[in-house]
Structures are given as structure tokens and as C-alpha cells.
Symmetry: C2
Subunit: 220 residues, 2 copies
């Protein structure tokens, strides 16, 4: 059927597990530029993601215009305040968190869902949202690639997608799903920043594993 690639060595396996373990959602950046060859490797990694029915539903908008970046930041700031109000008793605590590094990072990429997706039925007849799943896999690839390049990446989803779509002239049937902040960092957080800031503690794997039916504990 196919040629067979050599197995991954122990060192190669360890490298992938290390990237997965040390990847962080970053909000603190330095502003010096990223080399084009690094950016291209990151975007290629994204583009090698799996996609439902091979539809490749990702569209990637690089933001190089500084005043456009400022407008994007303003949209995020509006939604940050709206989110804080919706948090009720945690409003002040949320407002003290650093939730994005849009103004400081080297590069901004807006990850969008493509237009004309309704023609793709493969794997989506009952679950049309599988296109978002595919774009998310592309973002995770990019995140791991950034980590091994020593670059930080943050996924900001604090914005109104209609307003951001309008700012970037998206067709009505396309939609932005992520503001990706990318840049050099002084250091990677040793654990998720929201955990370091005592916003929330991560649950152990055992609490999310079941066997054969919901809530039935797994023997694994």
C-alpha cells in the first residue's frame, strides 16, 4: 500500500513529548522581529494539519499594518471589559489578569474559518462544526512549532467575531476564530499562567477518563 518510514527514535519521541509538555499560552512578549524562515516553518506546520474531508478550512491573515493592529487591540479591550462584567464576583480579579500581548508581540495572525464551507459534507453532515476542529488542529501544530523555535504564541479569543470579521473584510460565511500573538519571550511559563495566577487549577487526567460509559471509572 505505502512505503514505510523509519520508526521514530527514542530521542525523537522525547522531543515531541517535550514540546507538548512545555508549550504555553503566552501573554508576555518581547517585540524584536521574527525571521521569515521561522514564520514560514510555523505556517507550513499549521497547513499540514488534518482536516475533515481534506477541506483545509483555515484562512490565515497576517497583520502587518500597525494601525489595524491597534484597532484589533481596541476590539479585544472592549470584550475584555464585557467579559469581566459577566464574571460578576470575579470581575476585578479577571481585570487584573494579563489576557493578551497584542501590542508587544512581533507578529499577529488571525486564524479564520473559510467561506463556502457548506459544500463540504464529508464528516460534517451531522457535525458541521468539524471545520472549527480542523482549524484548531492547525493552530496546535503552529503552537508546537513555535515552541521548538523558542517562540511564544498566545491564542486570544476575547473579541466579537462579527466586529473583527468586518474589520478584516471577511465574507459573511467566513469567521475569525483566533487572534494569534507570536513573538520572542524572556521565558516560557513553567506551568499554565492561569494556574500560576491562581485563577484555576488544572484537573488530573484521571478525572476526565471514563470506560464504556459516562462517569464509569477507567481501569487504565
Amino acid at each position: 500500500m505505502t512505503e514505510n518510514a523509519a520508526p521514530f527514535t527514542q530521542q525523537e519521541r522525547d522531543a515531541v513529548y517535550r514540546a507538548i509538555a512545555e508549550r504555553r499560552d503566552m501573554r508576555h512578549f518581547r517585540s524584536e522581529p521574527i525571521r521569515d524562515d521561522q514564520l514560514k516553518r510555523l505556517l507550513n506546520a499549521a497547513h499540514q494539519a488534518p482536516s475533515v474531508g481534506l477541506m483545509q478550512p483555515w484562512r490565515i491573515i497576517r497583520i502587518t499594518n500597525r494601525s489595524l493592529r491597534n484597532e484589533i487591540h481596541t476590539l479585544v479591550e472592549q470584550e475584555r471589559i464585557a467579559t469581566a462584567k459577566a464574571m460578576n464576583e470575579r470581575e476585578d480579579e479577571f481585570m487584573r489578569l494579563k489576557v493578551e500581548g497584542i501590542n508587544d508581540c512581533a507578529e499577529i495572525f488571525i486564524m479564520c474559518l473559510a467561506d463556502k464551507r457548506e459544500q463540504h459534507i464529508f464528516g460534517r453532515r451531522t457535525m458541521p462544526e468539524m471545520d472549527l476542529a480542523s482549524v484548531s488542529c492547525a493552530i496546535q501544530n503552529m503552537w508546537l512549532a513555535a515552541r521548538v523555535e523558542g517562540l511564544g504564541m498566545g491564542w486570544v479569543s476575547i473579541f466579537d467575531p462579527k466586529e473583527l470579521g468586518s474589520l478584516l473584510h471577511l465574507p459573511d460565511d467566513a469567521s475569525p476564530i483566533a487572534i494569534l500573538c507570536l513573538g520572542h519571550v524572556d521565558a516560557f511559563y513553567p506551568e499554565p499562567m492561569l494556574q500560576m495566577e491562581n485563577w484555576r487549577q488544572a484537573e488530573a487526567l484521571e478525572t476526565v477518563m471514563f470506560e464504556n460509559q459516562w462517569d464509569s471509572p477507567s481501569n487504565l
Copy 2:
């Protein structure tokens, strides 16, 4: 702020890019079992995924009951036929494709969206679907981990989520998003199977890249 980990070596970078490039959505499996230590590394990789507001919205159901696996296969087969009919002129061509390896693979995991998600507003006030994005990142981690272990994984989304949720006794506010088939393989496809079967050809990266606004070509 944080301790600084050593940079990734060139060999480590290459390993991550290799895993990203050689990962495939597999449908052909051998049936011999997977070692527990490998399964645990895969599930740990999934559980180290980023999640919006650190909500960790993934719930993972391992299917060890063979008759339950058969019932899952029956659900997929029903939806495969319904999908084929919806394809109109490509119905026969779709029916000839191998779209899943549920009966042959070693392990089935059902990836679900957790219940009680509405309490999580962080990064989701305007885009509640970011929980699906987080679970998708977990699946991509697991896919890359499987690849470096020499194991194939396939994401099947050809099913009615209500029917599968009912079969697994999911709460009303939880939802299955993936039937993950996992197993040893004779070989990994050298390119996406849907491309090898001439179902669809992948687009080049350039066609999905814009600058500052939709449809404006990128200089990168």
C-alpha cells in the same frame, strides 16, 4: 518571572516537524493490542493541551466492551450511508472509500465535550465554541504522540452525536465529537489518503494566506 528551559536542539526541532509532516488520518489497522504505557503517554499528551480559561473541557471514554464497539460501528455505518446519499453525484465514489477502521483497530476512544460548560465565560462569552477548539488541540496532541509511538490514529466524525451520546449515557449538556481509532499499522500513508484516492487534492499554503484583509495576497 519563570525559570528558563534550555532551547530545543536542531534534532529536537526536526523531530517535531517530522511528526507533524508524517502524521496521517489512518483507516487501516492491525488488531494486536497497544501497551498500557503507550496508551498512558498518549492520553497524557492529550491532557497537556491548551484550553480556553484552563477549563479542560475534554472527557475521554475508552471503549473496552466489544458489543458496545459493534453498536458504535452500526451508528457510523448508518451515517455513512446518509452522508453518501447527501453527496448526490459522488455517492458511489464516497461509498467506495474506506472512512473508518473501527472493527480492526486495537482501541477506541470517544472524545467528548464536558457537561456544565456554560459556567466558563473566559474566552467564550462571544465564542462558546472555543471549548470544541480546546478538545481539538487535545486530539492533535494525541495524534502526534501516536505517530511518534508508531501507532496510527483516525478521527471518525461520521455519526449522529445525539445517538452516540445516548449510547454512552452522556448528560444532555455533554456531546461526543470524535470516535478515535487507534492501533498498529502496516504502514503510514505517504500522503493524505483522500488525496491518494483522488477524492480531493490539497491546496498550497499560498492559497490560504492573506495580509491585513481577506483576499489581499501575503508577501511572506
